[in-house]
Amino acid sequence: MKLGRRFWLWLALCYLGTLAVVAGVLATLGAELEGAEQAAFQRVLDRRAPALVFALVLLGFVWFGIVRWFSQRYPQAARRLAEETRVVLAANPGYRVAAHGAPEFDEAAHAINQLAEAYHRALGDLETRSAEARAQVEEERNRLAALMSELVEGVLVCNIEGRILLYNERAKQLLAPKGGAAPQYAPLGLGRSVFTLLERDQVAHALDKVRQRLAQGESRPVTRFVASVSEGALLRAVVTPFFDADARVAGMVFTLDDVTGLLGREGQRLALLHSLAAGLRAPVANVRAAAENLVAFPEMEDARRAQFAQIVADESGVLSGRLNTAMAEYADALKASLTLEDMSVADLVSVARRRIESALELPTRAEAIPDDLWVRVDSFAFVQALTYVAGRLRDEYGIRDVRFRAQASGAFAELDLVWTGAIVASDAFSLWELQPMRIGADETPLTLKDVLERHGGEAWTQAHKQSHTAWFRFLLPVGERVAAAAPAPPEAGSRPEYYDFDLFGRIEASSELEGRRLAELTYTVFDTETTGLQPSAGDEIISIAAVRIVNGRLLKQEFFEQLVNPRRPLDPESARIHGIEAEALVDQPTIDGVLPAFHRFCEDTVLVAHNAAFDMRFIELKEQAAGIRFTQPVLDTLLLSAAVHPTLEDHRLESIAERLGVRVIGRHTALGDALVTAEVFLRLLALLAERGIETLGAALEASRETYYARLRY
């Protein structure tokens, strides 16, 4: 235990006081003595001087013992009791104080514990009631979250400063860096800036357009842009503003769609046009010149005529060749229009059957439908077309049920609508193709031919007379199998924290970071595992993990976790602590590849770690090789714990966690430790606030003052 200034003061006082009393007594007695007696006394003193010095020293020790005993039993015990009481009050109501020092404190501790018990119960009641209220809000939020995760489109909501308030899983996929290369941007995350994900100018331009149209009196202006993200992928963003209570623009909703394929095909169509125009001009010019000569000069000599005729023949051959090449090359581009989507034939048939049965009350059946057959189809229009022909079969031919079958045929799928009974003549069917489709009372301006043309498809009628079977055969272009979107892995006991509406009111701080309140800062809490304890002796990082705290909330889903190849053998000793096998690291990136990604993850946040000096030392040694610098402020939970509990000695992560009621799971993995550190940090924030430490600057100052700050690695 550290001995404070007051301790030494008391000791000095007692010691000097005793000396003063003894000296005073001796002086008084000495004044009473006669000359000879004084001399005799002086001699006695001289003879006994060593004993006297010994007595003086002994007196010092005696007083040291007494004052120390007293200070431990009273003032220090009182202070310790107060600190432990504060733990109950600010961090962990389940904590019970223990008495130290004088027996009187047993009584005090007992009373405090009784009070803590009552307080805990009262808090519990309050908690129950507010939990009920919260559950309701939570349920609504959950419904929103569920709705969002169901959407096929990516959704991203940000406030007016571009801070992300909400996003869904699809948006995360769309904006995730593709390929194995280090990401170019910080990942999508709550509270992060939308401008690191989408081009700032494009977003600003969209906002300008929205504002301008609002000014023109439009009530719900929507604007669009196409943004290119990583790996040449193209996203179409639809931007819709939303408003605060004063009808000012409060933020924007981005609906995101991957249009890489669509725009790619659009580009191919343009390329086809250009290639046709360029490739056909010259041969057409040659044919035309030769032909015009032949027509204009019928009297030309035979040799000349033969020459021109040859030119016409040759150039026509070139023209044919170019046309065929172009068509073959761009076959894909001609196949599909923007409204087509890939769909399995089985799904298409089941939608069509439901529609025919409900709209026409005509029984349907599926015969042979291959499971792995996919088509590129405008399913709405096509199902309408199927229903239309089925309706005419029922009305004009008295057909009472229809069947579906399908098979692949080259680049097409053959889908047959089959029935038994009357045969539909091909000229009748040709008429059906050209008439507007009518289903019951609904008529569309579209014809079956329009629908088929949109697909690059065909349809005709066929029959097998012996079996009285007839069918309409529809050709649809074969599509690509679309993998069913994998549902997000369920997180045990929690749901993804993809939104944070509390970021709404947040004012962009331009002021000094140090003046910012701790509660409103965004933190990256991280931990590393290393090969050993000596960074300067060549020990290396083998794992980095981090989680984020935004607006006082720990976002468990937005984590960073990366194993690192240390390019040196693992010490079996350390392997026992972190449990990472050397083989697991062989294929991992090295630290100079990982640090830049981690740096981006930490952008605009305050770093937090337990015993941060240790981790930072490792990181700093690699900064130069990685070409980045971590310049953000760093908070250390070890130092902060020491700052709020100066009389407690044990500030290991487990001990703090236990003291503050944080459940410890997965220790000694980087992510597990980062999570525990983050929970501990959140509770320490409350204790710091108790002590009036509310800004980043104050927290850094308190850290500096604590004893452990003097530790150096």
Binding site: S320, F412, S430, E458, W460
Partner: protein, 132 residues
């Protein structure tokens, strides 16, 4: 003994291609008749009884598909070879033409020489009427 001339029916509404094909096929030793729409073609099939039809797909009054299907519906016309000629060369149309009974589907533009050779081959492969 010299066999009767093979009979070709050209069905197309574009006079320019008809002129060229007619000229070429006659030179090659075929008897040639021309129809310029679907109705006329069906009437001529009945009276003229061609060995082979060159059938354009896009025509006024019944498309080439329809004519082909009508011809194939007749049991007594099964031996007639049908060659479809079309400016629409997409795979779906080729598939439709062959499904409806065409023997060949040729996309415009084509080489006239090659067309004639393929007609020769088609008729050579067929059982010769009254032959053997």
């Amino acid at each position: 003994m010299e066999t009767a001339k093979r009979k070709v029916l050209i069905v197309d509404d574009e006079p320019n291609i008809v002129t060229a094909l007619e000229f070429l096929l006659e030179r090659r030793g075929y008897a040639v008749r021309v129809a310029t729409n679907g109705e006329e073609a069906l009437a001529l099939v009945e009276s003229y009884r061609p060995d082979v039809m060159l059938l354009d797909v896009m025509m006024p009054k019944r498309s080439g598909y329809e004519v082909c299907q009508k011809v194939r519906e007749r049991p007594d016309m099964q031996h007639v070879k049908v060659v479809m000629l079309s400016a629409k060369g997409r795979e779906a149309e080729v598939n439709k033409g062959l499904s409806l009974g065409a023997d060949l589907y040729i996309t415009k533009p084509f080489s006239t020489q090659e067309l004639v050779e393929r007609i020769d081959a088609l008729l050579g492969a067929a059982a010769k009427p009254g032959g053997a």
